[in-house]
């Protein structure tokens, strides 16, 4: 009846020895926790799931007014609302995924203290749950395309790749911040600030074209540049993203991800003792 499997308990060694098979065994928990977050977020709100749409829609409205109308930021011929929305879609997802994974261990501190499961499940479920909001916002984006009489090309099928890129980027930072947050609650307070700075460091309200050449290399360190360029390319037929930017961004992301896994693993063994 039960899949009897011996459990070995001992001090673990090795940088990346994170019990990945355990994470796989607990994949349903990861899913359940993510769905719990989605349910909890909308259960008591009168407008319910509509919030998943209202938030990005308002951002689009404000950005259009300020950066489209007043500042007249060039978009290369695309209507500004679509131009902004195509970037706000992945950005809203990314910032929410980052925030949730970074605070996951502290928010569910009780679980860390009293129940065993691979802790990696928690930041992972944190980057999964905002994907539900993304889907709803994406539907609104499709409606807007129809409104502007624009179609989608075959490139839209590459969208999951860029979304996955955003997921890994959020996770790569979340893995560092989540255990750090257990030791220093300062992280929670720093999050809104970090996300705001990061937003202006990403080409959301503007396009990468207006960034001076000598700054481009610095920009390419930010994985979200590649994600956003990719979204605009896949959804709005903008020029294809600079492969150099994507290459540098992914390299940074992979380095952060591996470092994050090692750090998370090191912190994991004592989480229950310090939380």
């Amino acid at each position: 009846m039960n899949t009897a499997q011996d459990i070995e308990i001992r001090p673990r060694h090795g940088l990346l020895n994170l019990d990945y098979s355990g994470v796989w065994r607990y994949r349903e928990l990861m899913w359940t926790l993510a769905m719990r977050d989605v349910r909890l977020r909308y259960k008591q709100a009168a407008l319910g799931i509509a919030w998943a749409v209202i938030q990005p829609a308002f951002a689009v409205l404000i950005f259009t007014l300020i950066f489209g109308r007043f500042a007249k930021i060039p978009t290369g011929g695309t209507p500004y609302p679509l131009f902004a929305f195509a970037a706000i879609l992945p950005w809203t997802y990314f910032s929410e995924a980052l925030r949730r994974s970074a605070t996951s261990l502290v928010t569910d501190g009780e679980l860390v203290r009293k129940v065993y499961f691979p802790r990696l499940v928690m930041p992972l479920s944190g980057v999964i749950s905002p994907a539900v909001d993304f889907l709803f916002a994406f539907l609104v984006f499709l409606c807007m395309l129809v409104w502007y009489h624009m179609g989608l090309s075959w490139k839209v099928v590459t969208l999951p790749l860029f979304l996955g890129y955003a997921l890994l980027a959020a996770l790569s930072i979340g893995l560092w911040l989540a255990p750090l947050n257990v030791r220093f609650r300062d992280v929670t307070h720093t999050m809104p600030f970090l996300i705001q700075v990061w937003m202006y460091a990403s080409p959301i309200v503007y396009s990468l074209d207006i960034v001076p050449e000598q700054w481009r290399t610095l920009f390419s360190l930010n994985p979200m540049v590649g994600v956003i360029e990719g979204f605009r390319w896949a959804l709005l037929d903008k020029p294809s993203p600079d492969w150099h930017v994507i290459g540098v961004g992914s390299a940074v992301m992979v380095a952060m991800l591996l470092g994050g896994l090692a750090y998370f693993r090191r912190a994991e063994s004592t989480l229950a003792d310090v939380i």
């Binding site: 039960n2 009897a4 308990i9 001090p11 203290r113 009293k114 499961f117 004592t270 310090v274 939380i275």
Partner: protein, 422 residues
């Protein structure tokens, strides 16, 4: 691993650093100061290292029920946390054969906003069940909890009893091969506790192994033929329950007497030792309901006292003072005492309910005026299959008369008068 062995621990140890990690929420500033200080030290400061568990080895066979006992801070919970993999050991290793269920607390992870049904799936997955498994057992879980009507109500509207019943019911259907329990069976009302006992029995039939941490020697005795006794992070005894409980009682008595001594410097009379025995004089700490208890205390006065009032009080584990025996009230007077002496008390048959009781010894002046001494002298247990805390404080049989035909004997209660309107 041999299929006969369920848990095998070899030299398990857990070291904590007090100081640097002692505060639950460090501020960044504290750590920077600490790290800066550490630059000028070599190696870890030995004063900040504390072994909560050290060199613990044991083997538990499949189907065995083993109790873990010890005073507070002896390392019982740390051991459970290591075996349930909540935290990693610093040294040693352990192997567990089969599926582990660990209940350090019932209902961890329940979410108030979610319904009973949603929480059942959430809590089930937290405990390690698959969704398919929970779906299969769902009806049985709901029936066991006895709250069919409320499964679509958010659990924040549940009474605490319903909450615990649902949580425990989910946990009970985990069907583990090895169950680690931390004092969680003491929940719910009488009827639910019987269900829990049934659950424990069912586990035994399935040859499950149970490791049970408790302060209730009564539960330990009724569930476990073998105990592991922990003292200061080390395993000091592993064997039959009676002997283990005796060691535990001995230590807890010593520690409480020692505790009292520290503050008793100025008292004119001090109780040095207390012996709790059965009526026959044989040392024991577990009494059947209705047995007599013999208490022998030796005291020492620092100044001559005239007619001091020695009081022995039994305090139940939940703090209820159940009874007092007093030399003055019970009609004996020692007259003038000076120096060393022994006082013996034989109680009437104890009709107290099944629980743990602390013995407090008080000495007052004549007429209960001032307190000359106050000490905790030890603990004992009373055992009864039915009478427990929910039943009352004590039980003496009442006298009923059965007379079904005499309708006129019904007492007419005066009708309540309507409140006058002022």
């Amino acid at each position: 691993m041999s299929t006969r062995i369920a848990i095998k621990a070899e030299g398990l140890g857990k070291r904590y650093r007090v100081g640097a990690n002692a505060g639950r929420h460090n501020s960044l500033r504290d750590v920077i100061v600490e790290k800066a200080a550490a630059l000028f030290r070599r190696g870890p400061d030995p004063n900040t290292v504390f072994w909560a568990l050290r060199d613990v080895s044991f083997e538990i066979a499949r189907g065995e029920n083993v109790g873990v006992i010890g005073l507070n801070g002896a390392g019982k919970s740390t051991l459970l946390k290591l075996l349930s993999r909540i935290t990693e050991p610093t040294a040693g290793r352990a192997r567990i054969g089969g599926r582990v269920g660990a209940l350090l607390e019932v209902g961890t992870g329940f979410s108030g906003e979610l319904t009973g049904r949603e929480n059942t799936f959430l809590y089930g997955s937290i405990l390690g069940m698959s969704r398919a498994e929970i779906a299969r057992k769902y009806d049985a879980i709901v029936e066991f909890a006895g709250i069919e009507k409320f499964m679509d109500t958010p659990v924040k509207r549940y009474s605490s009893g319903m909450y615990v019943r649902l949580a425990f019911s989910v946990a009970a259907h985990l069907e583990p091969d090895v169950l680690l329990l931390d004092e969680v069976l003491a929940v719910g009302d009488l009827a639910f506790q019987h269900k829990c006992l049934d659950f424990a029995r069912r586990l035994q039939e399935r040859e499950a192994t149970v490791l049970f941490v408790s302060h209730s020697m009564h539960s330990i005795k009724s569930m476990c033929p073998r105990v592991i006794y922990m003292r200061k992070g080390q395993l000091t005894y592993d064997g039959p329950t009676d002997e283990g409980i005796r060691l535990y009682e001995q230590d807890s008595r010593l520690s409480t007497l020692a505790l009292a001594e520290g503050s008793s410097k100025d008292w004119p009379v001090v109780v040095n030792s207390v012996g709790i025995t059965g009526a026959d004089g044989a040392e024991k700490t577990i009494f059947e309901h209705g047995e007599r208890l013999r208490l022998r205390l030796s005291y020492e006065t620092r100044e001559p006292l005239v007619d001091p009032n020695f009081i022995v009080a039994f305090i139940r584990s939940d703090g209820v003072a159940c009874c007092n025996f007093s030399t003055e009230v019970d009609g004996t007077s020692p007259g003038r005492i000076d120096g060393h002496g022994v006082l013996e008390l034989v109680t009437p048959p104890l009709r107290l309910v099944s629980d743990m009781y602390q013995v407090h010894v008080l000495v007052r002046g004549k007429g209960f005026d001032q307190v000359l001494s106050s000490q905790v002298a030890g603990t004992f247990h009373v055992r009864h299959a039915l009478f427990d805390r929910h039943f009352g404080v004590f039980h003496e049989p009442g006298k009923f008369t059965w007379n079904p035909d005499a309708s006129d004997s019904v007492i007419q209660l005066p009708a309540a008068r309507p409140a006058s309107g002022g």
